[in-house]
Symmetry: C2
Subunit: 142 residues, 2 copies
């Protein structure tokens, strides 16, 4: 049904879209990540894309990974960094991050602040790849 | 290329994503609308969806229309209203508006403020329909 969903703090002060289920990130997964929630905001039958909202708690981070499918990420709340390949960028509200196929990427919240962002992704997509030890060393520029 | 695009005021104080072309809304069209700009932020080859940013100037409005394809709209800036069928809702930053197939809809900025929003839409979509005089009267509840 056509609707308006408001983005507001819950009892814990975390921002969530009301009337949308909140899930833990990658409940199935064994990949390294920390303190992330996920809400699927929009995945209509006529669109091949999903829009999700992720919120990383202060000090948390997403998995360092890459995949063939692209992302468009819009930061809505808080502050943190995004790693794109070997570069790290400071990001905050209204920054739009586009991630090309097979680009290593990782989002981190600062120690003091959450990092909340929308992520647009195809419903049909390949599984993320994790870096080998050698790839991780190369990404760190050592 | 993977990138970060910043959302910042231009020389006129209007907010735009940097390094993205700004277009006039419906340059081809004859439908009634007023004072809208459009930026296509994200339309990658592997996704069937486009993300666009629209900004309606103070006092401006989008076309009252309906279509089979769905919209997801996220308000980013300013204030205004959205008409959904026969109901009108006040909207502001971080409100998420989902619009079902064949639902009449129109966005309006307040007289004092712009209304800026993201709109997610399928690349392949049907053409908007405009209301007949009778439909317009019914929508106004007269």
């Amino acid at each position: 049904m056509s609707a308006i969903r408001r983005f507001a703090p819950d009892a814990q002060g975390d921002f969530r879209w009301q009337a949308v289920d909140t899930l833990r990130y990658k409940q199935e997964g064994s990949a390294p990540f920390k303190d992330i929630t996920r809400q699927v905001l929009f995945a209509p039958a006529d669109q091949a894309t999903e829009m999700r909202y992720f919120e990383i708690a202060p000090g948390g981070f997403s998995t360092l990974e890459r995949h063939e499918h692209t992302h468009a990420v819009l930061i809505l709340r808080g502050s943190g960094t995004v790693q794109l390949g070997r570069e790290t960028h400071v990001v905050g509200p209204n920054d739009l991050v586009t991630i090309d196929p097979l680009t290593w990427h990782q989002f981190r919240a600062t120690p003091e602040s959450p990092l909340g962002f929308l992520c647009l992704v195809s419903k049909e997509r390949d599984r993320p790849q994790l870096p080998t030890a050698d790839e991780r060393t190369a990404l760190e520029g050592k």
